[in-house]
Structure formats: C-alpha cells, structure tokens
Symmetry: D2
C-alpha cells in the first residue's frame, strides 16, 4: 500500500518516520507547502535506514494531479492545515484514492466537502488520530452508558507553555455530557500529554488514563486506520466506526 | 422487588446495608448458617434507619422451603460459601425465584447444578460482582482485540496480610492471555484493593484502574445485576452478558 | 502513658479505636460535650476487645478539674471544636499534662492561648494530624527549595458532597507559594481523600501522593506525635518540629 | 564556567544539548573515544543554535593534557565508560579541574582512584545523576526513618526491551533495606522510565513517583550538580551531600 503524505510539520515528520519503518506500507512522497526541503529524500532527512524514496515535493512548484498520475498512491494522509483538503480532495476522489485526514479543526465548509468526497472514495477524519485517545473516548462513553449517574471528572496534563484547555479533553467532556468545570487542566514542565477520566462511584473508583510518549503515536494511529480502511468502499468514517466492529466480532 | 440474602459474613453485611438503603429493592430476610444472630433485625443490627424488617434466620432451626412460602421473595442473593447453593437451589428453581450468586469458587459439580437450575429460573453467577472490576475486564479484553500485539502487565495492590495473588488479577490475566509473571502483586499496609492493567504501546500508554473503597461495592454490583435481570427469562447469565447489551444499544 | 480524649465525633471515635488497640498508650477517659453516651464504655461501644475502661463523661455533668484529679492522664488529645481548649487548657497546664490539639481552625485568640499554655506544659497543634499529609508537606517544601523554579500543581480528590477546596490542599499551596488556581479539586463518588503534588521539570516529573483509607489515620498520627513528645519540655510544637529531627539524626 | 564533556553516546549527546542551551555554562569541547565525528562542532551536529564551538575531539589523535592546556575548562563531565576516568583523572586533578562522573558502575579500583583524586580536586560521582531520582531516594529514606515499620514496595516501569531489574530500583531498594522481591518490574511498549515507591500504612498510603520524559534530564542534573560544586574545595561528594544542605538552610 502506497501512501502520499500532505504536511511535514513536527507531527507530519513523526508520522513519516513511522510509515517508513512499517513493512506493510510505503511512503511514496511527501507534499509540503513551502519549498524549503524540496527534492530532499524523507528517509535520509529523518536519519532512517529505508529503501523507500519518499521524495519531498513543494506545492509551489508541483501540481497535485501530475504527482498523483506520475506517482500514484492508494492513500493520502493529511497532516497539513484545515484548507489542505482543497489542494488534493477532488483529484483524490476522482482517482478513488482513500483519504485519511487528521486535521484538528474543520469548519462546516470543509466537513461538507469531506461529505461530498465520500461519495467518490473512502474518506476518514479524526481530529486526534491516536489509537489510545480514541479507545479512551470509546471506553468512557460505554461506562457512562452503563452507569449514567456516576460522577465523572477529567484531568489533563501538558507542558507548561500549552495554551487553553486540551482539545482532546474538550472532546471527551462533550462525549460524556460534562461541563467545562469538570476538566482539570495542569500545565507543568515538559509533560508530553496525559488524559485521565475519573469515574467516582460510591464505593469504588475507575480511572482510564492515556499518556503520550511521543508524536509518533499519531503515526501508529494512521497505520491502524489505514489497515482498517483497506476493505472499505465509498463513505465517510470516523474512529468510532473503525473501533466498533472489534467489539461485535 | 423482594430480596432474600444467604450468607452474613463481612461482605454479606455490607451487601445487606446497601440493599436496605435502596428504594427499588427491599431486604425480606437473611439466612445465616449459625444461630448467633437468630431473630435479630438486620437494619437495627447494622445501625441503619429503615422500615424493612430483614429478620435474620438460621439454617439450624428454619427450613428454607417454609421460609420461601411464608416470606416469598423475587430474588435470592448468595454470599455464603460454595455449598450454600444446595440449601436453596431447588426450592428457588421450583418457585421461579431468580438466583444471583457471588461465590468466588465453584467446583464443576456446583457449576453443573447452576446449569440445571437455569432451566427452571434465571440464574446469574459472577465470582466478583462489582461493576468496576467487570467493566475493567470487559474494556481490557476489547483493547486487546483492537491491538493484539500490545504489551500488557497487571498491577494488583492489597493490604499486607492478603495471601496469594488476587483472584480478580488472575481472572484478568486469563481473559487477556497473560502469564502469571505479568501480574505484579504488592502487599502494603491497609490498601483495600487496586487493580491496574497497563497497556504499553511504542509511543503511548493506556492504563485501566479499579480501586475499591469498601465492601459495599459488592452491594452496588448486586443491585445493578438485579435491575438487569428483571426482564430475563430462564437461563444462565454472567456479568459479560449483562454489560454487552449496553454497548449495542 | 494515659490519654484523655476530648471530642467524640466521627474522627474522635476513630482516634479512640486506634488508642484502644495500641499497647503503649491507654485511653483513660473520653470527655464529650453532650450527655448522649454518658457513662458508656468506649471499648464496648466501639466493639473493640480491650481491658481499658475508657469511660465516657459529659461536660454537662462532670467538672474537668475533678476528672483530672480523680483519673489523672499524661496527655490530653483534643478532637472537639475550636473552643474546646478553654474547657481544659488551664487545668492541663497547671498539672503539666501534655496537650495535643488536632483542631482544624483556631482564631488568633486560641492561638495566643496555646502560646501562653506552652509556658506551663508541652503544647502541640496540627490542623491535620496524619503522618502522611505532614510528610507530604515537608517533602514538597524541600523539593521546592532545591528547585525553586519548578512548575507545581496540586490535585485533590474527595467525595462528591465535600464543599470548598480541601483545607489540606490550601495549606500545601501556601507552603509552596502557589496560587489558588494551581489547586485542581475533583469531587466524585466516595473518594475518601487524595492529595497529589505534581512537580513538572523540563525532562522529568516528580509526584508526591497521599491517599487516605480511613479516619483512623488521625489516630495513628496522634500516637506518632505522642511518642515524639514524651521527652519534650514546655513549649509550642507543630508537626514540622516533630519531623525535622528525623532528618538530622 | 567552562565544561569539557567526556563521552558522546546517546546520553552524552543529550547532556551536551542541555549544556549548550544553558547561559551559566559553556561547552568548551567534547572528547570521544572513536574518531567518527572528529572536528565536528557539537552545536551544529545537534542542530542547536549556539555561539559555543564545542568542538569534538577523538582520544585516538588528541592528548588529554594538551587539550586541557590549550582549552582549559573548570569542570569535566564524564558520561563515557567505567575506565574513562583513567584518561583524564590525573591531568584534571593536577589542574584543580572539578570532576563530575555519571558512570553507572565502578569497580573498587575506580572508586579508590576517585578517592585519591579527591585529595587534589573536587570529585563528584553519582550513578544516576537526575535530580528527580536522587530526590526520590532522599525523600524515601527520610520517610522510612520516620516510620521504620511501614510496608514498602517499588514499581519500576520501562520499555519492553530493557533487560534486568532497573539499577535505580535496586539502589532505592538497598537504601530502604528492601528485598529484591519488593521490586515489581514492568516492561511494556515504549515507557521511558518510571519509578514508584509505595509506602503502605494501615490507614493511609504515600506514593513517591519519578517519571522520565527524556535523557536530557541527565543534563539538568549535571547543571544542578555543577552549580552546587562551585564553592566546594577538594573532597569526594555524592548527590546526597549536595541535597542535604537545602534541608538545613
């Protein structure tokens, strides 16, 4: 399975490194907005020993349709920004290339565009594409269903500089019908990222905890999603759609 | 819904106290092997303000069939010992009284007996009847299904005197195909009971933790199970059978 | 060493039960404001097997000076309310009876009174008399001294009904020069009490955690303090004064 | 304060990056056994923006005495191997250059050599030079002193491949008079490193936890030690010697 990667910021680089080290997927190319790293080879740039080229292209000088025709891929992974989808969406849809987007925030306009693309190809979107956080969300919603009156609080811990409440914590709170006051945000030192959901029962406590070690977790999530989309036809999918069948089986 | 309670040890007493304080269920009577507390009133004995009598009978002087005819109940809860089932099983089955057993260990003989009773009435058995531990087991199995190659270790912590590895930890390990070496048992001070399942991924960690605050957690579990058995017909059920439908719905 | 206990609320009872079970100290009597349990024997009332009488007196019908003369004690432990000190302070001071007060809040007036009593006898006061919380406070202050610029946050978890921010958390925050915003308060289910101090360094994290299992922890704290006051002369002491020498030795 | 660094493995590199980014210390040079990176500039090689040269020398072609005379330093930091000390020890001692060694294991021979060098200059050795682990050790020993009969267990968690019990956990166990059975070792995924000391009291629990985020923690430890050695004369010091004065002051 050949992958094309859109976006090469800190997370994009970490995702590229995971793809380069995976045996079932290969990194065909990277498309970057600016031309600072144009024509560099990803594996070499990241110091990874790999036979894949993973050449870096720049949107400034390379046309997406030409790239897709000259170096066809099975899946496009999007770690760019919220308008990145317009640069490749239609071209991917027409070529039945599967789309996996990990963009944090989309406006209604982009969501509608994703929906229209999903009539042509398989489209997946998750604002946080790590397996752990999505499992946490899923497992927490399930416990809330079992025990609707349980008290729930969220603790999220991140490095000192991080502004605002973590988007993941907000998403968990929304899924569990919690208020913003139920999210406790700690900012200290270099904590990479920790989310804890505390379920307080009268005589027992259940805690679900996710800790990030490094950004490469996003790469593992991409691989997991890609593997689970292989047999999927046209349609719009999110992480819950991917997890639910594991439960039934 | 009227409940009859078999067994009145430490856990039986905690369970009785939870039932006495629940509005949807009433404690009709307690059946105890020895006659030390015979004819005492449970609510009074436990210092709980309640209108229910919950009189304590002794197996030495009271016949189970007479008790069931004079003071009929909807459910029998068994916190006695592994041969307690023989004292009431058949009488309960004939009267279509639902059976909820929380006995830790049954031999094949008792399991077979439960199976035969389940043709006459609703029979439920769970060696650990707390909601939290059963949820943990369920959620952990689900994550293992999603990520079969993840590294898993269990930490269980209990008070200093507790002998051997915790039965709950062993059950979790079996459900996750782990070895005994993967269970880390700590014994220190007065820790009531803590079970933690650590899922180690390359770039992230997920932890599921259950902490017991007090034995009353068994009472809450009994109430939860009883509520979920109300519409059930004849058959043999375990905690997973009770939890699974919450997921589907 | 004979102990007289002032105050017999929930915590007073737990403390009495710990003293009754300790071999180095005996509970001579309990002084209670109201006369509801007058003349009852503490050990019997609490269901503890002990040879000590620990008779319960009421301030309504018994004079403190007579009690101290008829049933002399070495130490008075105060778990009553903030004006309890006036009922026994002077009488204790004159008789060189050591005073251990565990009252949460004193006004300047009581603090001044304690100071004046400390010229006559050994006076100890700690608003939270558990060993664990005081150790936490001590160890946290020490780490802050070593690393003055480290980021610190506090998490405190208690049962759903608990009003306001935990007094212990406030005390920790004051000792570490933190703002109220640095205290994260969770209220869920039946959590007995948990205090966690998170020290975030750029490349590592240190956490100090105290978890209460039951109120009896106050009793253990009293015993620890009493043992450490045995050789003390007149003077006013707090928990830090008791802990510091362990470090030097 | 000028620093010379001996050893440039994974940890040595992380330490160099922390020194390069610290304003009070400068990295004069790095001495490496092999000549693979000879004459490279550390800041450039590590991608750090810094005015310091931090040129890399190789023991194969550069004499230590010449280096120390041509590019004198105030402190030598040793992250090489256990015989590294012989390459610079005497030359450093003669020139009153302070020595900070972070070598994990020394035989008696090296320890004796350190002792003899400590008559000429300030010599510091710590097998784990992070502030957090040393604080943990210190704080744990102190609690054990206060409560000699408390139950203690250690949990250490590391990445899947790590062989044997963690050296730090063994050191903690020795300091607390624990048995090897009291160390619980978990190996899962990519956990960087976590050490937890659990103190179980009858009615409360205290936990001291250290979590590593990255190897740069060793660099912070080096800076902390270097700052605290500035005023020290000849003598042999360990981390406890550095921490203790903070307590007294």
């Amino acid at each position: 399975m050949k992958i094309g990667l859109i976006g090469f910021g800190k997370t994009g680089k970490a995702v590229a490194s995971v793809i380069l080290q995976n045996k079932n997927f290969s990194l065909a190319w990277v498309m970057k907005k600016s031309n600072t790293l144009e024509n560099r080879i990803t594996a070499e740039y990241l110091g990874i020993d790999s036979e894949e080229t993973g050449k870096i292209y720049s949107g400034e000088s390379t046309s997406m349709t030409e790239l897709l025709d000259n170096q066809p891929v099975d899946i496009i992974i999007d770690f760019s920004s919220n308008d990145g989808i317009y640069s490749y969406g239609e071209a991917a849809g027409e070529r039945k290339i599967k789309i996996i987007s990990a963009i944090s925030h989309y406006t209604k306009k982009e969501k509608d565009f994703l929906a229209s693309l999903s009539k042509m190809t398989t489209v997946f979107w998750s604002p946080n594409i790590t397996l752990g956080v999505n499992y946490l969300l899923f497992a927490a919603k399930f416990l809330k269903k079992i025990a609707p009156s349980v008290d729930i609080e969220i603790i999220e811990e991140h490095f000192k500089g991080k502004d605002g409440v973590s988007g993941t914590a907000i998403k968990i709170a929304e899924a569990l019908d919690l208020e913003k006051e139920d999210i406790n945000s700690l900012r200290a030192g270099g904590i990479v990222g920790k989310h804890e959901v505390v379920f307080g029962f009268p005589f027992q406590t259940v805690r679900l905890i996710h800790e990030s070690i490094s950004r490469e977790a996003f790469g593992s999530g991409v691989i997991f999603v890609a593997e689970n989309l292989i047999d999927k036809k046209e349609g719009l999918f999110n992480f819950e759609d991917i997890l639910a069948p594991y439960f039934i089986a």
